[in-house]
Amino acid sequence: MFTTAIFLNVLSLAVVSAWFTLLLQWPVSRAVLRRIPTVPAALQKTLLTAWVMLPIIIGLFCSIAFILNAFTDVMWAPLEMFIHWHHLFEFEWLTWHGGLLGVWSVATVWILARHVWLVWAHRASLQSALMMADGSVKHHNGYEFVCLQTAMPLAFTAGMLRPQVYLSQGLLERFDDAQLQCILAHEAAHQRQRDPLQKWLFSLASAYYPASLRRTLRNAFDLASELQADSRAGRETGALNVASALVAFGKSERQWQMPLAVSFGQDFVSQRVRFLIEPATFNMTIPATIGLVALAVLTANLLSMDSLHHYIELILER
């Protein structure tokens, strides 16, 4: 009984801490996101992942700190004033703690279910498309891909655990060998990095953010994935050749008035070409800034959990 109460109390504290972190991140997120594209693509993805994982990491950290303080003497004495438990061995569902945990549980189950359903829906649509377009495995200069029998210029990577590269017959006929090499190197980079799975996981981790911020975060991650695949393809085939292939692809697809769309448009392509021409160089300013924000948020969490608890109880008592 005690064990269940402790577990639920610790979980409840982690949830409060994660949501408090999210609230503190919110006003500074846009400023941080604006600066992320100034670093290399791989670092962009790492920083964005760290940013969306921050509420979970800090929630866990706070829980561990409170547990250590309750059961050991390792905590720094002055900090003990701020992180003591009020009712570690009791947990009642009909309190604000229980309500909060209930809301979080329902939200988490909903988010997980929706993400699993999205993967299924995506797979089903893709399989239908592959069947209609008579997909068959082909090879080109050492790259393996599924060829779709359609005149539209298509090139994409899909699949969660075993991603596959898809190219259309229209694309093969329209582009020369050098351009195809760039496109295949780009898609192979997505495949190697398991980008569809990474995007899915990022989408899951960012699901608790408010809608507009969530969209910005996911777009930033999408762009970073493209930039990373571009730069890897650039290392194999030449950055300017990849940039030229991107522009050629853009020109070729302008002729198609099909209702096809993915999340990025002209700005995205423009940014990618610019990034290929002038790649970002590593600088410590952005990672250091994010590190400092994380430290400030962690400190704010540790110092305010107790007073936040009292404050909420005070409001509810009135």
Binding site: A129, H186, R215, E253, R254, S263, F264, G265
Partner: protein, 129 residues
């Protein structure tokens, strides 16, 4: 949208010869693959409900014609595979080499092409020095 193998066969037939009623489709498809009249009738009905076929009554029978071209259907299916996510949350689990939106402005693309050319020229000059 999810499509099955029989639906594909029926569509393929109707893209070549339409309008056709259930008996004509059944006669053509059973020559190759088997199946029965009811299955073909259900498949036609399903495709009609998915808004992939149009139909008009002639005597006692419905005659079916495709509402979409093959290329257009493939485009829609691939679009669904991505838009299922975008519609819900602007999120995409397919990594495309580039957008299919066809919204790139020619001028913007020309400007990017010039930038690439200028960079090639700069690199060439640097190499020569």
């Amino acid at each position: 949208m999810v499509l099955g193998d029989l639906e594909k066969q029926v569509l393929n037939y109707l893209w070549q010869r339409s309008p056709a009623d259930v008996k004509t489709v059944f006669a053509a498809l059973t020559r190759n693959k088997g199946g029965n009249l009811n299955t073909i009738q259900t498949t036609l009905e399903r495709l009609y409900k998915k808004k992939l076929l149009d139909r008009h009554k002639q005597g006692h029978a419905y005659f079916y014609t495709p509402r979409v071209e093959r290329e257009s259907l493939i485009a829609t299916l691939i679009d669904n595979a991505t838009r299922d996510f975008t519609a819900l949350d602007e999120n995409v689990f397919i990594n495309a080499f580039q957008s299919y939106s066809g919204q790139f402005e020619e001028q913007e693309l020309d400007a990017l092409e010039s930038m690439i050319q200028a960079q090639r020229e700069r690199l060439r000059q640097n190499k020569e020095r």
